[in-house]
């Protein structure tokens, strides 16, 4: 079977101005959203307490809120979690809150207040300082990853490709963060992990394309840089699509079957794979092209054989 039967080379690069405008608009929108909406940081980063309770029957959120209010937790945020019977209660860190006993206290208060049977599913408490440290470490990890990758690609390929691929990664990460901020989805540690996995995936894609571009620069004698990039993108397009499909398939399995705890993870990756596929076609190659990639940059230097420039001695 064959999904794409491309006979002709697709002139990807002639649309690159449009793609550039599209990308810039999306990136600006992401930055705008991140500035106005900010990220909805989860417990891992903000600190505080989270209690997940499973009720026997569908939970009445208003009643739970009233119970929490009357028991001295007016700031409690009560939400459904995944199903109508699972409830998550969030409490911000504040002075005088006895975290040690909090879980049991809340549980017995709810039991008395709602008259329903329930079970404690999970309690998480994170101190504020830990969250700050984590946010710092997370940012640092992202940066280290980008730099390491920049160095590797520059070493294996060429600095223009390295810039292109790192720019594409930056683009993907920014758009994914923008999505989470625009939709106000919770940003926790698993989402951070997913974003690093997006970096991995998107890079994978970019490397495959760059590899082919390099090969074609060396192999094909005709055509300018834009033509060669077009040919390479067309040749790798079918693998790009198939890999995206298989990855999206497994991510769909995670999204629908993985449960509430990794919903954010799956969302970030699903979106990231889409953007990553697009960016490996348009962002990475157009950046390399914009920096003036040419045949000479990729052809390995010919080392002169000793004495090759001398005339052959005739006996």
């Amino acid at each position: 079977m064959q999904i794409l039967q491309l006979k002709e080379t697709v002139a990807f690069m002639s649309y690159r101005r449009g793609a550039l405008i599209f990308s810039v608009i999306l990136m600006l929108a992401s930055v705008f959203s991140l500035m106005t909406n900010k990220l909805n940081f989860g417990l891992d980063f903000t600190g505080g307490t989270l209690i997940e309770v499973g009720f026997e029957k569908a939970a009445d959120l208003n009643k739970i809120r009233a119970v929490m209010d009357s028991n001295g937790y007016p700031d409690a945020v009560v939400q459904l979690y995944g199903s109508s019977r699972d409830v998550v209660i969030r409490l911000a860190e504040r002075e005088g809150l006895n975290v040690e006993m909090l879980g049991n206290e809340v549980l017995s208060a709810l039991q008395a207040g709602t008259g329903q049977n329930m079970e404690m599913r999970r309690i998480e408490f994170v101190g504020g300082s830990v969250g700050d440290e984590l946010a710092e470490q997370g940012g640092l990890a992202m940066l280290t990853a980008l730099i390491c990758i920049l160095v590797y690609v520059a070493f294996r390929f060429e600095w223009r490709f390295a810039l292109g691929s790192v720019f594409a990664l930056f683009h993907d990460v920014l758009l994914t963060l923008g999505l989470f901020s625009a939709l106000k989805l919770e940003f926790d540690l698993t989402v951070l992990a997913a974003i690093l996995a997006v970096i991995g995936y998107s890079l994978n894609d970019t490397i495959v394309v760059s590899d082919r571009i390099r090969e074609n620069f060396r192999k094909l004698r005709e055509g300018g840089p834009a033509d060669i990039i077009n040919i390479s993108l067309t040749q790798t397009l079918s693998r790009t699509f198939i890999t995206s499909i298989t990855t999206l398939l497994v991510l769909a399995a995670l999204f629908f079957r993985g449960g509430e705890l990794i919903h954010g993870f799956a969302t970030a990756l699903l979106f990231g794979v889409f953007v990553g596929t697009y960016s490996s076609i348009y962002v990475a190659s157009s950046v390399a092209l914009a920096f003036g990639i040419s045949k000479e940059d990729l052809i390995p230097e010919v080392i002169d054989k000793e004495g090759a420039d001398q005339e052959e001695m005739t006996p």
Binding site: R121, A197, I207, T243, R257, L261
Partner: protein, 615 residues
């Protein structure tokens, strides 16, 4: 001939996959309910404990499938949980407070598998249920304490050297010694410089002060010591909890992570972790009447305490030395190769010990272990009441006047001496600790996570399987075989690496690896199709396809591996689990997708004259 593997290469691939399968195998066996008996406070379970447990279980008609003694712990397996619960109640009552009895689920790995090192994967807390704590060691307090001890040491040393000083004071992050004249200052500088090499000393001639500052190296040492010591204390306390397979591990520079699988009652765990234990040295009251004391007539200046085996000892009330003066303790052997415990005190403690022992040579001295244990009772304000438990851990005769360092013999076997040293070190906390993170996962949520994770893996696998067969037909089947081998290898490697735990994000990592692992095959297969379209022969196309795709696959995977390794370095708990499965998956998938599929392709299609290829 093109596309033929030598026999050794095929055998090597088969061997590696079989090896992975062997170590993945233990995961298929269910777990046995078991009861774990471990000793407390330096006691170890031994053959005698084993015999008594055995006879008690048989006497009570509780059937067990096996009983083994391992690392000073007793493990009794049962065929069902009912027997297990009955045995727990029985043993808890009969063994008393010298042992802790814990419920446990032990992998039912068959003996032949266990003998080659086969164990099932460890499940993270989000899958097994339980509680985890992150504790932070207060490092500034540790440094303050170290400086306090130093002020004492400086005073003692200068006095011993007969150098007169005006004052020794602790400033911000240095210790300032003031002198009366310049000669003393120079003399002291020369003397202290030699003695305390890990300090930066600077003279101030104007106000006749010498200030000593810890070098960065020394500061690091102090912090490191505080962390290590706290880990030892916590490990001891966690052992007292009687939890099966607890984990106490350092994390970064000042954090300790504690995982207690299966524990739901966090209140009790926290109380024990926060509890304090210490040591005291007292003289034995040799003049008092022990039998009178046993009948309730204890002399006013004495106190009746008991040894571990129940032997009563009459001690003087006056405490000779408290445990917070202990700086270090270790175990070794004396000249008659009897086990002994070596104790180092700070200088104040050394002085006290010296004064206390000089007039008591030849008399017995007792080491008392004091512990505050939480009880079920609460006071009026709802705080838990702690019970003070005192126990004599050793009685030894004072051989000579003791100083800053001395030794205790008569603590029993070598392992008991070792444990006593641990407890002595653990007696006083070097720096206070505080819980900064706590996560509890209920058992139902854990089980649910396992189920969801497995469903996602199966569904992801299924979808990719179907897609690959539709798209690449016979070659799709080859890719699927490689994918299956990849899963087996991931599980095998995960089971083999001791530190690797499977978490829910880890399962997500496996799912993701499945999606991405086929990428290598897609690259190869697309390349083969391309070569065929260019009119090359089928054998040529296969050969070229694999060759040309190889460097691309390596580059693409190494960069992903970089991202995964960075994730491992910064991540904690579940995230580390994700990074581990992702990294292992990347490496194993490179092997199965490139070498594995090539082996099959070569065996089926290689070296034959073909007109058509099912790709």
């Amino acid at each position: 001939m093109l596309n033929k593997y030598p026999l050794w290469k095929t055998l090597m691939v088969l061997f590696i996959v079989a090896f992975g399968a062997l170590y993945a195998l233990p995961n298929l066996y269910p777990e046995d309910p078991a009861v774990q008996v471990s000793g407390l406070r330096g006691v170890e379970a031994n053959a005698a404990t084993l015999d008594s447990v055995k006879s008690e279980l048989t006497a009570d008609n509780i059937s067990f499938s096996s009983i083994v003694l391992e690392n000073g712990q007793l493990l009794v397996r049962f065929s069902d949980t009912e027997q297990q619960l009955r045995a727990r109640d029985l043993l808890e009552e009969s063994l008393g407070d010298k042992f802790s009895v814990a419920l446990n689920l032990t992998p039912a790995t068959p003996a032949w598998l266990a003998s080659v090192g086969g164990t099932p994967m460890k499940l993270g807390l989000d899958l097994s249920g339980g509680v985890s704590f992150l504790m932070e060691v207060n490092m500034s307090e540790a440094i303050v304490k170290a400086q306090d001890a130093l002020v004492d040491d400086f005073r003692t040393d200068l006095r011993g050297e007969k150098i007169r000083y005006r004052s020794v004071k602790k400033a911000n992050n240095s210790i300032n010694v003031q002198f009366r004249n310049a000669e003393d200052l120079t003399a002291a500088h020369d003397f202290l410089k030699k003695r305390y090499r890990d300090f930066l000393m600077s003279e101030n001639a104007d106000n006749l002060t010498l200030s000593a500052k810890m070098t960065d190296q020394k500061l690091k040492e102090v912090r490191e010591y505080a962390l290590q010591q706290n880990i030892t204390i916590i490990r001891n306390r966690v052992n007292e909890l009687g939890v099966s397979e607890p984990l106490v591990q350092r994390q970064g520079k000042k954090h300790i992570i504690i995982e207690l699988p299966g524990v739901q009652d966090t209140a009790k765990a926290k109380e024990i972790l926060n509890a304090t234990a210490t040591i005291e040295f007292r003289l034995v009251d040799t003049d008092g009447d022990l039998s009178a004391a046993l009948n309730g007539r204890v002399p006013a200046s004495s106190k009746l305490l008991y040894e571990r085996d129940g032997k009563p000892v009459l001690l003087k009330k006056r405490v000779m030395l408290t445990g917070d003066h202990i700086v270090d303790a270790g175990s070794s052997f004396d000249e008659y190769s009897r086990p002994q415990v070596n104790i180092s005190l700070d200088s104040a403690g050394g002085g006290k010990m010296s004064n206390g022992t000089k007039s008591n040579i030849g008399k017995p001295m007792a080491t008392v272990f004091i512990e505050y244990k939480p009880t079920d009772r609460k006071d009026a304000e709802g705080n838990t009441i702690f019970e003070k438990i005192e126990e004599v851990i050793s009685v030894a005769t004072i051989q000579a006047r003791l100083g800053k360092t001395f030794r205790i013999t008569g603590a029993g076997s070598q392992s008991e001496a070792h444990n006593l040293a641990l407890l002595l070190r653990a007696g006083a906390l070097v720096a206070p600790i505080q819980i900064v993170e706590e996560r509890t996962v209920g058992p139902t949520l854990g089980a649910e996570n396992v189920k969801l994770g497995f469903q996602a893996i199966l569904m992801g696998f299924g979808l990719v399987f179907i897609f690959m067969i539709i798209y690449y037909r016979a070659f799709g089947v080859v890719a699927n075989l490689a994918l299956g081998a990849n899963l087996v290898l991931i599980i095998g490697v995960m089971s083999l690496i001791p530190g690797a735990t499977l978490t829910l994000p880890g399962m997500a990592g496996i799912v993701l690896t499945v999606g991405m692992a086929v990428d290598a095959n897609v690259l190869i297969f697309e390349r083969i199709r391309e070569e065929m379209r260019e009119g090359k022969s089928i054998q040529q196309s296969i050969h070229q396809g694999y060759d040309a795709a190889f460097s691309t696959i390596i580059d693409a995977n190494i960069t992903t591996l970089i991202a995964a390794l960075i994730l491992y370095a910064i991540g904690t708990g579940p995230i580390k689990g994700f990074a581990i499965t992702l990294s292992i998956g990347i490496i194993t998938s490179m092997f199965t997708a490139v070498v594995g599929t090539r082996t099959i392709v070569n065996a089926v299609w290689g070296g034959k004259r073909l007109d058509k290829l099912s790709i």
